[in-house]
Each structure stands twice: as C-alpha cells, then as structure tokens.
Symmetry: C2
Subunit: 252 residues, 2 copies
C-alpha cells in the first residue's frame, strides 16, 4: 500500500437485479466494508444498489467516482448478456472497451485454447488502461480504472480477490470500535449517552442499538473513533453511568 | 389498497452507520423488496445505504422522493441521540417537527404515565401532517409523510409493521418469476440466453447467476415479467436449449 493519509473514503455500488428484487441477500457490502476499515483504514460512506441498466450504471459511476476516493463495484462481469458492468464503466469514462491482453492470456491458460469460447473471451474485455485485480479462485480478473475497482458478485470469489485490491489503495486511519452490551433499554441511558456524545463530539461517534438475546432486551453501545485513547476516555465516562445506574453488562 | 396502476416503483433508504461500517448485516432490503413485489406489485428500483448524518439524509430523501412513487426508510427513529431520521425528514420537506398526538397517546398507554420519560416522548415527534404506521410489537409507530414511509431498523419490529403500510400504497403489477437451475456453466448457454432475451426484450428480463451446490457448479436462470404467459413462452424456448444441449436440471 502507498502513503498514509488521514481520511480516506469509499463508496460501494452493488450492481444486480437479483439483489434489488430481494431474490438474493447481499453479503458483499459488510465484507468489503469491514475489510476496508480493518486492513486499509478506509471508511465506506455510501452504498448504492442499482439494476443491470446501462444508463443507471454510467450515471452512478460518474457521480460516485467524483465524490469519493474509491468506488468498489460488485456484480455484472461474467460472460452472459446481463453482465454489462465493464462496458458501462468504459462508457462512463469514455474509454475504449477492448480485450485486455493480460486478462486474455490468463483466461486462455485457465480454460485451455479449445474451451476458451466467445462468451469467456468477453470476460477479458474491459476499459482501455485498466489494471487487473487477480482472481485466485476462478481466473476471470477484476480490474481498476481510475478510482473504480470492479469486482464480481459471487461472494466466495470476491472474498478471494480482496487482498489483491490493496496495492491500488492509499492507506487511511483505521476506525477503532468498542462495543458494550447493556441489559437496559435505550430510554434509560439516552440522556447520558447524549452528554458523552456532546463531550467527545469531535473524536468519538457513539451509536446505540437495541438487541434481543436470551429472552431479554438490551442495548449495544458502540464507540467508534480513529483514536484509541479517545475511545478509552469515552468508555470510562460510560462505565460511570453503568455503575451509577447499576446496569448489568453482557460480554460477547 | 387503492386503485391499480401498471408500473409502481419504490426506493429504499437504509439509514445507519452500523450497516455502512459492516458491523450489522442488513436484512431489511430483501424483506421489503420481496414484500413490495409479492403483496403490492411494486418494484424496488434503487437502494441507498447512508450514515446517520442530517445533511445526507435530507438530500437523499429529497432526491429519492422526487424520483420514485414511494420511498421506504429504515432506521434512526428510536429514543437516542443518534436517531435523527424523523427530524431530518421534517427538514427535507420543510415541515414542523412536532409531537403527533395520536403517537403520544399510544406510547403513553404502552409505557404508562410514570415510565413515559422524555427520551420516549421523542418517539412521538415527527413531521407535521404525518400519518401513523402502527407497530404491533413495540408500540412506537412509524409514519408516512408525502410519499416517504418511515420504518424502524430492527428487522423483527419492521417485519411486524409492514402489512400496516399497505393502505397507503397504490397497487402495481406484480413481477412474476421462474427460476431454472442448470448443471452447466454460463459460457455454455450464454449465446442462447442472449437470443431468448432479444426475442422477449420487451416483456421478460432474463438473469443468469452462477451457483455452487453439492460440490458442483451450476447456473440459475431467472425469468422475470409481469406477464405469466410471456414467462411461459420464454421458458419453453429455454427448455429446447436445455434438451438440445442435454443439460441436467436441479429442482429446488
């Protein structure tokens, strides 16, 4: 990875009718988001799920590419007629959509000359000037063009490729987090949480999420910050509230 | 439900840092999307996942509300400081953010006067002119203002409320679908699928999705259309391909 920067952000664009229709449960957003934060210090600030529709892909990529340091796309880079991501991204950047020689060789090697048919050759086509993101599980590579990293939709394949994205990314500051699970209800601690949030407004983001476990209701309080010491300070304030109110905690 | 219309669409706006950060796996998109299609004939055409950030919520709601028949939001309507959805939507529509009397009564009844504290009273605040979406599981209602339906983020609570959205929606034409699971690879059928897609381009949308099951690779072909008979016709063409190529199918 390249030089370190403070705030680096990314958007994820999930491309696929099957996610929008509810047929398929997306699993890539949380995977990419966790990986980006933990391995690269990059925060995902927006996700869009859009259909396999050329104009929508073009407009979304143009907008997201301008607004964010990086854009990750998932889906639509296979060999069938509904795989239109690569060609649409070429159009978004007004670059030629053409055979990438390196990708062609990789795929020809993988399938063998005889089995390397036209639909499979399509998977070697991408915007001119793309660099490959290698695919250790099924050969067909992803690619990066400008600040857009293009990945497949199948989670197991995407997961196997994610480390190969790293060399293209500038590292940011990792967001650390601490979760405290309390056997209480939100309304019993909301004023105190707000006070702590006010006190650390510049450094720590505090989230409050109800949970149901072992037949009991509870609240997960999540402290997030790029500074571990600020989290520690906010946590120490939270501990005082927990003790004062005699709230039971649950460690997971 | 009100009068029938042909094409009715919706967007879903998921509001929550915990989804963006990857801490929590969203489950509401596929649930809402399936319900809207199956129960109301409404298609979800775009999803956005955004942070608990006022300006972002305001801008997203304004844009999505203009572009779609309906907008469904999830998350950010609880009693804590990070629950800013209702107030932000009031600002998006420049309507007063105030106590809704009916919601106030419901919550007062549910908690009892003594336990109905300030944080809980916050859950009765919403944009002026909102109509309530009743909540059979934990009382705190959602609401609809203009074409925006505001729901909680906790899946079990959201699920229990969804039927109460129906009376506010115009019914569209349901999209039917037929899935065929083939033990083959995409590149072996992609040309034929493209031909069938071309033939039915106006009526049927054909998707092709690789799967891995029982140690074998396969392809799910999904035919989607508002016309059952057009699906039948496209399916009959697909059957010919399957027979000609002697492809085994898997019924699930």
């Amino acid at each position: 990875m390249k030089k370190k920067n403070k705030k680096v952000n990314a958007a994820i664009v999930v491309i696929g009718n099957e996610i929008l229709s509810g047929r398929t449960q997306d699993k890539n957003v949380s995977f990419i988001s966790n990986w980006l934060n933990n391995s690269c210090g990059i925060s995902v600030v927006e996700v869009r799920i859009i259909p396999d529709h050329e104009k929508t892909i073009i407009n979304t990529i143009k907008e997201m590419s301008k607004k964010n340091n990086y854009v990750f796309t998932t889906g639509g880079i296979g060999p069938t007629h509904d795989d239109i991501t690569s060609e649409s991204i070429s159009k978004a950047f007004k670059t030629k959509y053409e055979i990438n020689k390196e990708a062609y060789k990789i795929l020809e090697n993988y399938y063998g000359k005889k089995e390397f048919n036209e639909p499979r050759k399509k998977m070697a086509k991408m915007p001119k000037g793309s660099k490959l993101i290698y695919n250790p599980s099924s050969a067909a590579p992803g690619f990066i063009i400008k600040n857009v990293l293009v990945l497949p939709g199948v989670p197991s394949i995407l997961n196997s490729m994610i480390e190969n994205c790293k060399k293209f990314l500038i590292k940011g500051s990792k967001t650390h987090s601490k979760t405290v699970n309390l056997f209480t209800v939100e309304s019993k601690i909301s004023r105190e949480l707000e006070d702590i949030q006010e006190k650390f407004i510049k450094y720590v983001s505090i989230g409050s999420y109800p949970f149901f476990r072992l037949g009991k209701v509870g609240v997960s309080v999540v402290l997030r910050s790029i500074s571990k010491s600020k989290i520690k300070m906010a946590y120490s304030d939270l501990l005082k509230v927990i003790r004062n109110k005699k709230i039971k905690t649950l460690s997971i």
